[in-house]
Symmetry: C2
Subunit: 206 residues, 2 copies
């Protein structure tokens, strides 16, 4: 894998480009210039071209990029050729909202199961995704070879749950606990820290 020298931020942008390409495809656009796609994605054209160049040559000089083919390539690059199953741990307030959130399915992720210390609680009954007791987490992940997990448990349990997830084979964790998680180098953690984001904003208002 020569993923080493590609800026991490470029990977994020790839997802954004992919979304824009999908919209273009829906509108039956066949070709798009770096200029137009960059504007849609909110980046500079030169950056878009540089980002795409990390993965190969996709454009035709004088013409632009083929919408469909570029979309497919990015999809494959992101490892999204096939539907990724995801589990969610902690179906509390935020967790159960995420279970109902349509954005994940819309982008082609399937939340196949949720786990909670108290699976019968009122909140979890609303959703159609099955909620299992937390104890079954390890075997489920192993049996279904799940690689992605969304973590919504209270901060004090987060590290313990992460250790179990990692041991069971999870390689990517979307973490909503405001906490620094310790994981081996081959596991990626993405932190979504809502209070932190709000705090960051408050610096910029005068």
């Amino acid at each position: 894998m020569d993923k080493i020298d590609i800026p991490k931020k470029a990977i994020y942008r790839l997802s954004i480009y992919y979304r824009c390409l999908q919209r273009l495809k829906e509108n039956d656009v066949e070709t798009v210039s770096s200029d137009a796609l960059a504007r849609a994605a909110g980046v500079k054209p030169s950056q878009l071209r540089k980002d795409l160049a990390y993965f190969g040559q996709f454009g035709t000089r004088g013409l632009g990029y083929p919408v469909e083919a570029l979309g497919t390539t990015i999809r494959e690059t992101l490892g999204r050729e096939r539907l990724q199953p995801v589990v969610l741990i902690g179906a509390g307030n935020l967790g159960s909202a995420l279970l109902r959130y349509q954005g994940f399915q819309k982008e082609g992720f399937e939340v196949v199961a949720a786990f909670d210390a108290n699976p019968d609680s009122a909140r979890t009954r609303v959703v159609t995704i099955p909620v299992f007791p937390e104890a079954e987490l390890d075997t489920f992940i192993r049996d279904q070879t799940i690689k992605l997990a969304i973590l919504c448990v209270p901060a004090e349990f987060a590290q313990a749950v992460v250790n179990r997830l990692v041991a069971a084979g999870v390689q990517g964790i979307l973490n909503f606990s405001p906490l620094l998680l310790e994981v081996p180098a081959d596991v990626t953690v993405n932190n979504v820290d809502l209070a932190l984001e709000l705090e960051h904003l408050s610096y910029f208002i005068r």
Copy 2:
């Protein structure tokens, strides 16, 4: 304001340091070295020192940083001396979960009101924060001089709502719509794009 040449990422880290300092304070620690605080925050000691140096000199050589005083300074730097009122727009699935989310209050933000096209919907009844019809948004923000908003409306309405927020005086927006928002230069938008974060992870699993 000489906020110009401070790395944006340093601002994020400031919030993290602040949290760590709060924990230390709770444990009655009076002084902390850059080494210890950096480890708690998950950064290199040299980076911590550099970050703090952007704002002045707070440490005592040979000793470390005073926990309480440094906390206060960071708090002021982040513009958090006083409780910041926040409004939330769009009390749907995700929005109403955020209304119930305790993390914001825990970090000293008060979500004072929510607005929704359909304020009487079942979901919004659970929460104690008042949910007003969307039409009252503009006057409320103006009257209460609200500067921060959390945006959870469906993507197709997001830009229109943002225009109203900005016109009413909002300067910071925490945006949960997977959409590029257009705002004037003096308004800051923080995007939390959940599907994007998951997609990003899927690149790193093999």
